[in-house]
């Protein structure tokens, strides 16, 4: 009886080789990591369907094993291929959206896409490959938590990964989940330091890298080493924006955040500067037809950048609702890959931490990232008379291979205009 092997790209040995259970069949490369795919079955490798280095969809047929070297597999192969073609188009299963309200968006510097889950291109039916760089024993890898803690965490939409366990061997128990405070949303909460005896004793320790940390480290190093980046900063007067927000607040529904408006305004500017909404591809520059704006969400031990797709075509309200839903999913690790992969531009906001301005790292293959500082009052001269206004600083970090200084300035200028005339964004 032949056996179908379903999953992505192969770099294997010759057909007719005998494959034992546990033999490494191929390496599956995703945007985040490379994992070894070990065979769960035994038999002679009779047919390699997916060629080395080619992309493959989840559940796509990649090879066929058979008990015998000379067993006729032609009929089986035909059927398996038909089935694979049907399945191949199917999307990965999208996890259910968390319905529990979650803390507001809190973002830090940028990275690419998002490395939250260990890379499994698997849908729900494909065998789950083991990550090549995660070979610790099950017990070490598993984060421990009491059943009750898991239940409470699920009910309150808290990701257990984010919770520090205080039970034996770091087991997360009820008090840990109930006492868990998400990353504070306002600078005020964060800014209150602990004193003297309140602080835990300082210890030197080697913290093992999580998958997310490894990916962040690798990708951001690549980005800084391989991208010629420059940055341009502008001040944006935020009076009109704040006024609009307070008007919107009087309406129904949830609050529209500054971040929502920045996403919308970025999309507005990107639509008008297609050469910023672009990617350096070696021999050419690809300008994207779609404006998919990622935004950085801080998680315990890392971050992720969910994407508002076609943000230029969406109403502010829609963007705001989508952002809320994406943040909620991100916090519990339930983002589907298509919800964090493939953005064309990224926004990172540290304004809520009281940051004046900063420069986030470009998230390849994108060409630019926008860093948002906090809103603050300043004194300016109006015809020689000192007056007060509130401003925020926005900084564009751009890949010089794609974007020149003047272009960056023009883009920022359009963005600044949109933010200072936010009614444009309502049209």
């Amino acid at each position: 009886m032949p056996i179908s092997i379903l999953m992505p790209s192969l770099s294997p040995t010759m057909e007719e080789d005998f494959i034992k259970q546990g033999t490494m069949l191929c390496s599956v490369e995703t945007d985040k990591t490379t994992v070894d795919y070990e065979s769960m079955d035994e038999g002679f490798l009779r047919k390699i369907v997916a060629a080395q280095g080619t992309p493959a969809k989840v559940n796509q047929l990649i090879a066929v094993l058979a008990d015998k070297k000379d067993e006729d597999i032609s009929e089986y192969l035909k059927k398996a291929l038909e089935k694979s073609q049907k399945l191949g188009g199917a999307k990965a299963v999208v996890p259910t959206v968390a319905t529990t309200p979650l803390p507001p968006i809190t973002s830090v510097g940028a990275t690419r896409g998002s490395p939250l889950q260990t890379a499994t291109p698997a849908g729900n039916s494909a065998p789950i490959p083991r990550s090549s760089d995660d070979r610790r024993t099950g017990d070490e890898r598993r984060s421990k938590s009491s059943p009750l803690a898991r239940k409470i965490a699920a009910e309150s939409g808290i990701s257990l990964e984010a919770v520090q366990g205080t039970g034996p061997s770091g087991r997360v128990v009820r008090r840990d989940v109930e006492g868990y405070k998400p990353v504070p949303a306002s600078a005020g909460d964060e800014a209150r330091p602990q004193f003297g005896s309140q602080l835990p004793p300082a210890v030197t320790q080697d913290v093992p890298l999580s998958m997310m940390r490894k990916t962040i480290a690798r990708r951001l190093l690549e980005s800084t080493q391989q991208t010629p980046v420059f940055s341009v900063t502008m001040k944006v007067e935020t009076g009109p924006l704040e006024q609009m927000r307070s008007q919107l607040k009087r309406g129904p529904g949830h609050k529209i955040s500054v971040n929502d408006i920045v996403i919308k305004a970025s999309a507005f500017a990107l639509r008008r500067h297609a050469d910023v909404n672009a990617s350096f591809q070696g021999d050419f520059i690809r300008q994207f037809g779609n404006v998919d704006v990622g935004f950085a969400v801080s998680l315990a031990g890392g971050l992720i950048t969910p994407i508002v797709k076609s943000a230029d075509q969406k109403a502010l309200w829609t963007i705001s609702s989508e952002v809320k839903a994406l943040v909620a999913k991100a916090k519990i690790g339930k983002l589907a890959p298509e919800e964090y992969q493939g953005g064309t531009f990224t926004v990172s906001n540290l304004g809520m931490y009281g940051v004046d301005e900063f420069t986030a790292i470009v998230n390849p293959p994108q060409s630019a990232i926008l860093s948002i500082g906090g809103i603050q009052p300043e004194v300016y001269l109006d015809g020689g008379i000192p007056k007060e206004r509130s401003i925020m600083k926005i900084t564009l970090n751009a890949d010089h291979r794609v974007i020149d200084g003047a272009l960056a300035a023009q883009f920022l200028s359009t963005l600044k205009s949109a933010l200072e005339n936010p009614v444009w964004l309502l049209l």
Binding site: S146, P147, L148, A149, R150, K151, G167, P168, V173, R174
Partner: protein
Amino acid sequence: MALMSIRDALNLALKEEMTRDEKVFLLGEEVAEFNGAYKVSKGLLDHFGPKRIIDTPISESGFAGLAVGAAMMGLRPVVEFMSFNFSLVAMDQIISNASKMLYMSGGLFNIPIVFRGPNGAGPRVSSQHSHNMESVYSHFPGIYVMSPSCPADAKGMLKAAIRCDDPVVFLENELNYNLTEEVPEGDIVVPIGKGDIKRSGKDVTIIAWSRMMTLAKQAAEELAKDGIDAELLDPRTLKPLDMHLIAESVRKTNRVVLVEEGHFFAGVGAQIADSIYSELFDYLDSPVIRVAQSENPMPYAANLEAATLPSVEKIIHAAKQVLYRN
């Protein structure tokens, strides 16, 4: 209400039940002329006469079998074992005959027998006379197992056992016979299969029965000094268990300590823990911890005997452990 020892409460239950139903009779070693090895049957011979209070030879297998026959003929025997250690020689009668007769006879013969007597470690009676039999008897289908921890329960539960149409193993405790508390007046029956919360608390459920409840109460008082509010649950009937009550308590406290005087391995506590894991997994914030007799024959030396048995300190330690407070 009247202050009464467990010994007197059992005596009163026997007296009331024998008065209520003339089919009830008591048999066992020294129950009549000597008024019982532990005086549970004190005064009953004088009151009911030698036809209903019967001294037997030292032959547990014989008089247990006699009771099975009497029960088949419509009487309701109460069999006293001087110690449940001696029930070991009558096990074939108890397990293979009394508890299987209804099934084997196709429903023709109910066996309304109460097998009662002191269970567990007495003071310094060493390895052959310190057995806890609850896990053994509760293993076999066809028989109820009960064990009271206070005089009120002793009276109400023995009445329920005597009125039950099926065999009941009723486990008393030598060291608890003098435990004196108030017992409500009147014909109060504690139903089989119904547990009781002996102390209401919110932090940890301590499940204990018989003499272990006495230790658990002391432990709860000590724990309260540390700000730990323990709930004490006495299942009273060990088979069948009052899982409803256990579930209610575990849902509240999320942590369980199981105390039993018998050995750790395959104890009744293991069964309760299993039921909790299967049915209440999502409510647990810690693994269930069991306090039980260690896995050695009971030593004669008092200090070693104490080290072998559960203690107030061991219960306190376990409670702090499930609360991650150690």
